[in-house]
């Protein structure tokens, strides 16, 4: 269901009908992560690349494992750490 609101802009008030936010299941901590990632990426909406995911996992205390062919591949945490 959409919600409507009046927003003041530089050129006067406008009515906005916005889609229902898809974040109702996010915690405050998760919102903080998203806001920080948006700020860091200048809002470019980067996909979670391997390097970025590894950085997050490293920051969260997880480990990655180096495999053949000089590629870094992250072991599936579900398969490896669960």
């Amino acid at each position: 269901m959409s919600e409507a609101t009046i927003v003041m802009t530089d050129t006067g008030p406008i009515g906005l009908v916005l889609p229902k936010p898809e974040r109702s299941d996010l915690t405050e901590n998760e919102l903080s992560w998203i806001r920080f990632l948006r700020a860091l990426s200048d809002g470019s909406d980067p996909a979670p690349s391997l390097a970025l995911v590894q950085a997050i996992r490293a920051a969260l205390g997880e480990t990655c494992k180096q495999i053949d062919h000089g590629r870094l591949a992250m072991m599936s945490p579900r398969a490896t750490f669960a």
């Binding site: 609101t5 109702s24 915690t27 998203i34 997050i56």
Partner: protein, 133 residues
């Protein structure tokens, strides 16, 4: 009055980039038609910043540009309202997550074992490193 008041907006640059990316797959005229623009020149005007994208055009244009609608909506709100006002709207209503952001959340949940980790100074520093900030 500036003839291209929206030239420096992220929306204008993003639309230009997506049309360039789709070159060879579909033409600008095809994208315009798919997005429901009766006049194909509207896309040129959006690209150049001489006109802005109407909010109600976001879903169809996102589909035509094969991009994330939530991301396009965010850029369009920035362009329509200004960066600060768009942030205020986002604070109140929430800003829809893009598909990439949903993946980020899934990764964070997975990596933390669903422990809802705080964004610590260490995590910030690590991410800054990766993003070169």
């Amino acid at each position: 009055m500036a003839t291209k008041p929206h030239a420096d907006t992220r929306l204008a640059k993003f639309v230009s980039q997506r049309i360039a990316d789709l070159n060879g797959t579909k033409t600008q005229a095809e994208i315009a038609a798919e997005a429901g623009f009766l006049n194909a020149n509207v896309l040129s005007m959006i690209k150049s910043g001489s006109t802005k994208l109407a909010l109600d055009r976001v879903p169809q244009l996102a589909k035509a540009l094969e991009c994330d609608p939530a991301f396009l909506l965010r850029l369009t709100m920035e362009q329509s309202l200004g960066v600060t006002a768009a942030k205020a709207v986002g604070e109140i209503f929430g800003s829809p997550l893009t598909a990439n952001e949903r993946e980020w959340i899934a990764e964070i949940r997975d990596a933390s074992g669903e422990t809802d980790p705080r964004l610590t100074a260490r995590s910030r520093a690590r991410l800054r490193e990766i993003f070169g900030r």
